[in-house]
């Protein structure tokens, strides 16, 4: 008999591998099915960019809130009933101005303030964005449709710890007098990551 232990097995598909773990968890009474449903609800209904959009619209219309938000993001978003996971101990809000543009990334993995700005888009987690945005910020942003003038200062924020960042976009000039609700509809996840200006 040949030694079977060195025969290469075909790698199982990702679905088969997930099924394997889920079944093993299920057999151990860990109730994975229930938790998957709970997670689906959180991902689809709770961790959405509309949360951050409310924060931004409030900051645009309420100068005192804006100050509190810039001083302590986590406490300020809690005023709007928004929470962050316990291990995200700090939310730093980065204010864009006519002369400063902020953009966030995570070169080591994919960290984001997902409960506020929404779960990260596919491209944010891709090798291309992670490798390039710190070194070629202006080039990458231009490729993504945001052509910044050379005199604009660019600040890239690499999320290497459990501090979380969100960009406070510049309020468009044509929105004077708009309500918070109407303003919030303008604010996109991409603008809070900093790959778009409004």
């Amino acid at each position: 008999m040949p030694d079977q232990s060195h025969v290469h097995q075909t790698v199982a598909s990702v679905e088969q591998r997930v099924d394997a773990i889920q079944a093993a968890f299920d057999e151990r009474g860990m109730k994975p099915g229930e938790f998957i449903e709970e997670f689906r609800h959180l991902a689809e209904e709770q961790w959405v960019p509309e949360n951050g959009a409310r924060v931004v619209a409030k900051a645009w219309t309420d100068p005192a809130f804006r100050q509190r938000l810039l001083a302590n993001g986590r406490e300020a978003v809690a005023e709007l009933g928004l929470s962050m996971p316990a291990h995200h101990r700090h939310l730093v809000v980065l204010e864009n101005t006519p002369t400063v543009h902020n953009v966030i990334c995570c070169t080591l993995c994919s960290c984001t303030a997902f409960s506020i700005i929404g779960l990260p888009p596919d491209w944010y987690k891709d090798l291309e964005y992670r490798a390039r945005v710190v070194r070629q910020s202006r080039t990458v942003l231009k490729e993504m449709g945001l052509d910044l003038p050379p005199e604009m200062e660019v600040r890239v924020w690499d999320t290497t710890a459990d501090t979380r960042y969100m960009v406070l976009p510049l309020r468009p000039v044509e929105t004077a007098g708009w309500s918070e609700e109407k303003l919030a509809k303008l604010v996109t996840k991409d603008s809070m990551i900093g790959v778009a200006r409004l």
Binding site: A12, F25, H87, L108, D122, W157, A161
Partner: protein
């Protein structure tokens, strides 16, 4: 560890696959993986630093060719095996095929004993540490000089927390580096801000 995951500043990658209103998940199994590793964290089987480190420990060719959620899956499975929750044999039997795991872990480390406290405006240098285990210092700032802009609350020290090594919580400092300092004559003009743990930093006088 100087792993394949440490991508900041690596050259040769092409355009970002960007689309408006891009999705987070593309396949139903991706959401299940995300849920299952979140469940394992909630049940205390492993923490987020262990989770991140088990991704970093993937064999480099596997890391680069796997999708984001296949990396999550590999970390989840590796840690379940290492923690004695499930055996590798059981996983492969249930999956009806090979189930590649991450490579073994190297030792972690505790905080640096003589840590310095910094305030905004202080000029700091990132130590030239090379550690075999988990570390949250991206390679592109090693040995580089920057300016502290703010301090965070104290966090578990990842180099210890990913390895079950007892350690004090310590703050991170947001340190501002110019791209000219990081990649002289070889980067777009900008500032890069990195959350750097206190143990990784020393004062520049």
């Amino acid at each position: 560890m100087d792993g394949m995951h440490d991508l900041g500043g690596k050259q040769g990658f092409g355009r970002v696959r960007y689309s408006l209103k891009a999705q987070t998940f593309h396949e139903p199994w991706e959401k299940r993986v995300n849920a299952l590793y979140s469940l394992a964290v909630k049940l205390g089987i492993f923490n987020m630093d262990e989770y991140r480190h088990a991704i970093e420990r993937m064999e480099p060719r596997h890391y680069l060719s796997a999708s984001y959620y296949e990396r999550s899956l590999t970390s989840l499975a590796t840690l379940c095996v290492e923690k004695g929750i499930i055996t590798h044999e059981e996983l492969e039997r249930r999956a009806h095929g090979a189930f590649p795991l991450s490579t073994p872990s190297a030792p972690g480390r505790a905080n640096v004993a003589a840590r310095q406290h910094f305030k905004p405006g202080d000029k700091v240098k990132v130590k030239t540490d090379h550690v075999p285990g988990h570390v949250r210092m991206p390679g592109y700032i090693r040995g580089k000089t920057g300016v502290v802009v703010s301090e965070s609350p104290a966090y578990p020290f990842p180099d210890a927390h990913a390895h079950g090594v007892p350690a004090d919580d310590e703050p991170t400092y947001d340190v501002r580096f110019s791209t000219e300092e990081l990649w002289p004559n070889s980067a777009d003009p900008a500032f890069v801000h990195v959350g750097v743990f206190q143990s990784y930093l020393e004062r520049v006088t």
